[in-house]
């Protein structure tokens, strides 16, 4: 990032951070997570700085990116919330509906997804996923809690996503 780009970025940030927060928080009420998504939105601006700088309306670019991130986040949470909750459930139906190799199919229940989580993620990974999806904890807070860098949290989550998606090419295909 050149000096000129950084100056542009800082001005963009100063002018738009609160607006992006307003936008994100209409869907994501948890402040820390909303902040995380807002920061990640500006991180995308860093990654695509030339595109943003040449864009007719950089603020509109930011809101579009924020919108896409919020949608993706909500989808991710919605997809994995019930399976994660069912892991904590003592109800016998949690796994009862699964056929021998049925967990490779998407059915109307959540037991197959729960089984994938249970069998393929480590306890630490399950905890991280649960914090993100169920308790809606932001990545930065998780980094502080686990005493690791934010980048490390991102890598762990990327690994978790990859693991989960490997069992569901249906999800991967449309990524």
């Amino acid at each position: 990032v050149t000096f000129q780009q950084k100056k542009f970025l800082e001005e963009l940030y100063q002018e738009n951070f609160n607006r992006i927060m307003v936008y994100i928080q209409v869907r994501v009420k948890e402040v820390e997570t909303a902040k995380d998504i807002a920061q990640d939105t500006f991180y995308e601006a860093v990654r695509q700085i030339e595109t943003v700088m040449s864009h007719e309306k950089p603020a509109a670019w930011l809101t579009q990116v924020a919108r896409n991130k919020v949608c993706a986040y909500m989808r991710f949470c919605q997809r994995w919330l019930r399976p994660l909750l069912s892991l904590d459930s003592e109800l016998p139906e949690a796994f009862s509906a699964v056929e021998e190799d049925g967990y490779r199919k998407i059915d109307n229940g959540y037991s197959d997804l729960a089984k994938i989580i249970q069998e393929n993620l480590t306890e630490q990974e399950r905890y991280l996923l649960k914090q993100i999806v169920v308790n809606r904890v932001g990545y930065l807070r998780m980094a502080k809690e686990l005493n690791i860098s934010l980048s490390m949290v991102e890598k762990r989550m990327a690994k978790i996503r990859a693991t989960l998606l490997s069992y569901y090419p249906e999800f991967k295909k449309i990524n």
Partner: protein, 321 residues
């Protein structure tokens, strides 16, 4: 968009509550295509300003956030919330594939696997209703001062199309009020036939004309149709000169729908014409004359045909006398 342009175009949004504005933002997020980006930016500015003034919500310390951004986020190797994710396991995300690329970017495509009419329509409705509320609050005094029907919708047009739009609070005062002649028995019969059709559509207001050209007869209708979101009463008339015209009255189930419809026109100018407190717009389309009026809520009257402007105005004057 220039700040003054935004103020002029979207100033009515200032009249709405933060909750309502947030509802528009929420609908925008859930819409696959999003709404009017300038309007979204304007809403964000309005809410931000309110937060800044401690009227509502929390205003975040940007310097602190910027510092945090530089300390933790700017050095990431990949996004925390990758947006190129889609699913189909919930009502929220059905049919849409999201990428991080906004309009204008050539790097990543934003594609849509299936239209999400419901959320888009809801967003449109929300925006239009918001504008209507805002204008009614802001423009009522002005409108009444110039003797206008404050609930009459304003309109915009190009060389090819006419459409009712949200009022801006500024009104053209063209048009005249004229007294109507006595109602003839034939005209009364034509009036009653149409008015009974309007009753069927649930329109209780007297919107059928009481003046028709001499020797005019109804050659088609009254026909009442219902399309799921709109009731329509249609009549076709023919007079001695073998000139014909059709009269259509539409009643929409939702207040914002009239603004979603458009009327074809040619490149000639549009004449605003006031009759009995209603602001009609008269325009031509391929040598036919069109007159349209909307209450800005749910009702639209359209009269179209190869009739003279004098005849057309006489009909308009006789509506709801």
């Amino acid at each position: 968009m220039d700040q003054n342009d935004g103020q002029k175009k979207y100033g009515y949004l200032n009249q709405l509550s933060t909750t309502y504005l947030e509802g528009i933002l929420r609908a925008d997020i859930e819409s696959s295509e999003g709404g009017d980006e300038d309007m979204i930016l304007y809403i964000l500015e309005v809410i931000e300003q309110r937060k800044k003034n401690n009227q509502t919500g929390v205003f975040y310390d940007v310097d602190e956030a910027w510092e945090e951004f530089q300390d933790h986020y700017i050095g990431l190797e990949a996004p925390l919330y990758p947006a190129a994710i889609s699913g189909s396991d919930s009502e929220f995300d059905q049919g849409t594939v999201i990428s991080v690329s906004p309009p204008g970017s050539t790097e990543v495509k934003h594609r849509q696997s299936a239209p999400r009419r419901t959320s888009r329509t809801f967003l449109k409705r929300l925006i239009l209703v918001a504008a209507t509320i805002g204008v009614l609050l802001a423009g009522m005094v002005t409108a009444q001062a110039v003797g206008m029907d404050v609930f009459g919708a304003l309109a915009k047009w190009t060389d090819e199309v006419f459409r009712f739009v949200l009022p801006t609070g500024e009104y053209d005062e063209q048009g005249t009020e004229l007294k109507q002649a006595a109602i003839t028995p034939d005209a009364q019969e034509l009036h009653d036939a149409l008015q009974s059709a309007l009753d069927e559509c649930g329109i209780t207001e007297d919107l059928a004309p009481t003046w028709f050209p001499e020797g005019c007869a109804m050659v088609d209708g009254p026909e009442v149709t219902e399309t799921g979101y709109m009731w329509k009463a249609f009549c076709k008339y023919l007079d001695y000169d073998e000139t014909s015209f059709v009269l259509t009255v539409q009643r929409y189930d939702e207040p914002a729908f009239p603004q979603l419809e458009s009327t074809e026109k040619d490149s000639s100018s549009v004449e605003p014409y006031i009759a009995n407190g209603r602001l009609f717009y008269i325009m031509s389309n391929n040598h036919l004359l069109n007159a349209v009026w909307s209450d800005g809520q749910s009702t639209v009257i359209t009269i179209a045909g190869d009739i003279s402007i004098e005849v057309l105005k006489n009909i308009l004057k006789s509506i709801g006398e």
